[in-house]
Amino acid sequence: MALARRTRRKETGLAALMLAPSLVVLGLFVLYPLGKAIWLGHQRCNSQGKACKSNGWDQYTDVLRSPEFHHALIVTAKFALLTVPLGLVLGVGLAVLADRYLKGIGIFRTIFSSTVATSIAVASLMWLFLLQPSTGALARVGWITRLFPVIKTGLLNDKGTALTAVAMSSVWANLGFTFIVVTAGLQSIPRDLYESAFVDGAGGWRRFTNVTIPMLGPTLLFASVVLVSRAFQAYGEVDLLTDGGPQPQGSTTTLTYLIYGNESTIRNNDGLQATTAVLLFVVLLVLSAVQFRSFDKRVHYAS
């Protein structure tokens, strides 16, 4: 008994030692700032973030009810709806397409996963070069502008197309990631499942819907969680492509851009920025919970 207790104590000490580095970093750079941000969220500070005074906790509910927050939340949700499902479909499509034994398939796989190497800045600048109204490469090609006049005025300048254009660049940039994840998922599906389905007389499409998709459940959950959180935190692409515009509609003013954007009216307003950022956190929490719950059922059902 005494020995066991000593071992226990020794293990506790060892655990503390092993956890210490992570706890220090996470504590100092995640938990402390989170707490501080939640606290700041009920305050107003001067333009240097000092002399903070309480403005009441109703600052949270008021921001939540403000038209600016609603607008940015809707833009962000639209952005997620434009990027996540399409990103998943394309990722699965490409992965299934490349998941064959064909000569040279390795080259195709490399190409499909290559956009994982493009950071948001790189991808956005590439698309900016293509899409800009006048210096844009696409606008310089006669037949393209004749076919799609909106390219001439600029997909990024048109209130109807700006968000979609930003979303396309984002989908492209994330395609490599989704492709790799789904490819990995496909490879972990036991092949005898396919064989027994084949023996049961299931055709290609039925094997896809009855074996591939259910077995990809956890993979798709992972990918969708990552894609949703990327969509809800999209900043770089908006910053580089549209500056939150076109105005006055603010067609691409996402939540992060509302907080930190160049044209934000709450810039240098630490209290309100914190309030809005914490609310973004809450939205993400709700979304993650919903995602996990909905996928959980599917995953269990599948296995």
Partner: protein
């Protein structure tokens, strides 16, 4: 209707290697006209995926007075623009900064993740569930929430314009801990017992048994950490006030705003910024796939 075949009649080597494709459609792979169709489809997708890259490469290789003339026609090549972008954009220095930060972050994330994962997987200590829950909770905190406060922390530590400032906030992640812990938990239960019989302490077991067994997951975590660090956009812009401490992402933003009237120069910078990561990807692609599988299946 596909001709019925005995699955066993399939040539064995076709499915012997996982990389050679699983069998989403056992019957259809490799028949003539389908093969042509598949290749056509692959080529179309390749074209779409690579088109922005193609345009970038062309723009980066053209002089200023040619870049917008026929943007998609390969002609009038020069390497001058790449050279200018490299020197004027200070990209060598920025790439080095990004590389140093990414390596520090990668190594540290793997080490901190392995240690904390070991504690969660193999050690008994009070409040374990609570501490693990706290770890998991940090996984959901978006960086945007902590940004302003973190900038102040880094400033008060005197870490603006430093590698510490760029790297330290990312030295540990709950994601890494979670990933490695899951892999540890998959190891056979009696491994630890057997090791104890052999007189191995926790450190010995960690070093000689556990780590070698989870090496693929570590590799994947490393690559993931490297890419995440490399792709940081907002943070380096916030905490650098000295040009020399920019990373390649914030440096690209500088180049893009400064030389907005020189699209070929901006594209050349973009290309230079993309190539190193692409190289890393080529080298470590398989680890990435394997690690992400682990993350996907258990994450």
């Amino acid at each position: 209707m596909p001709r019925k075949r005995e699955p066993g009649a399939e040539p064995k080597r076709r499915f012997s290697k996982r990389e050679q494709g699983t069998i989403a459609s056992i019957d259809s792979a490799g028949r003539g006209w389908r093969k042509v169709g598949r290749y056509t489809l692959l080529l179309i997708v390749t074209f779409v995926v690579l088109f922005p890259v193609y345009a970038t490469v062309l723009a980066a290789l053209k002089p200023g007075n040619q870049v917008l003339q026929h943007p998609f026609v390969p002609e009038h090549f020069t390497t001058d623009v790449l050279r200018t972008a490299w020197s004027q954009g200070n990209l060598g220095r920025y790439l080095l900064n990004s590389f140093v930060v990414a390596v520090i972050v990668t190594v540290a994330q793997v080490v901190t993740a392995v240690m904390s994962a070991y504690a969660f997987a193999f050690l008994r200590f009070p409040l374990k569930a609570l501490i693990f829950a706290v770890f998991l909770a940090t996984l959901l905190v978006p960086f945007e929430v902590t940004l302003v406060v973190n900038r102040r922390t880094v400033d008060s530590l005197g870490w603006l314009n430093s590698f510490q400032g760029l790297a330290v906030p990312f030295l540990a992640t709950a994601f890494g801990t979670f990933l490695i812990r899951q892999t540890f938990l998959q190891l056979p239960k009696d491994l630890r017992e057997a090791a104890r019989m052999d007189g191995l302490g926790h450190w010995g077991f960690l070093r000689e048994v556990a780590v070698p067994l989870v090496r693929p997951t570590m590799g994947a975590l490393a690559l993931f950490a490297f890419l995440s660090s490399w792709n940081q956009y907002l943070w380096p812009r916030l905490i650098t006030t000295e040009e020399n401490m920019n990373t390649v992402q914030s440096g690209l933003k500088l180049l893009a705003t400064a030389d907005v009237d020189k699209p070929n120069l901006v594209m050349a910078g973009t290309l230079i910024a993309a190539v190193p990561v692409f190289a890393v990807l080529m080298i470590f692609q398989r680890q990435l796939v394997r690690g992400l599988t682990a993350g996907a299946v258990k994450g």
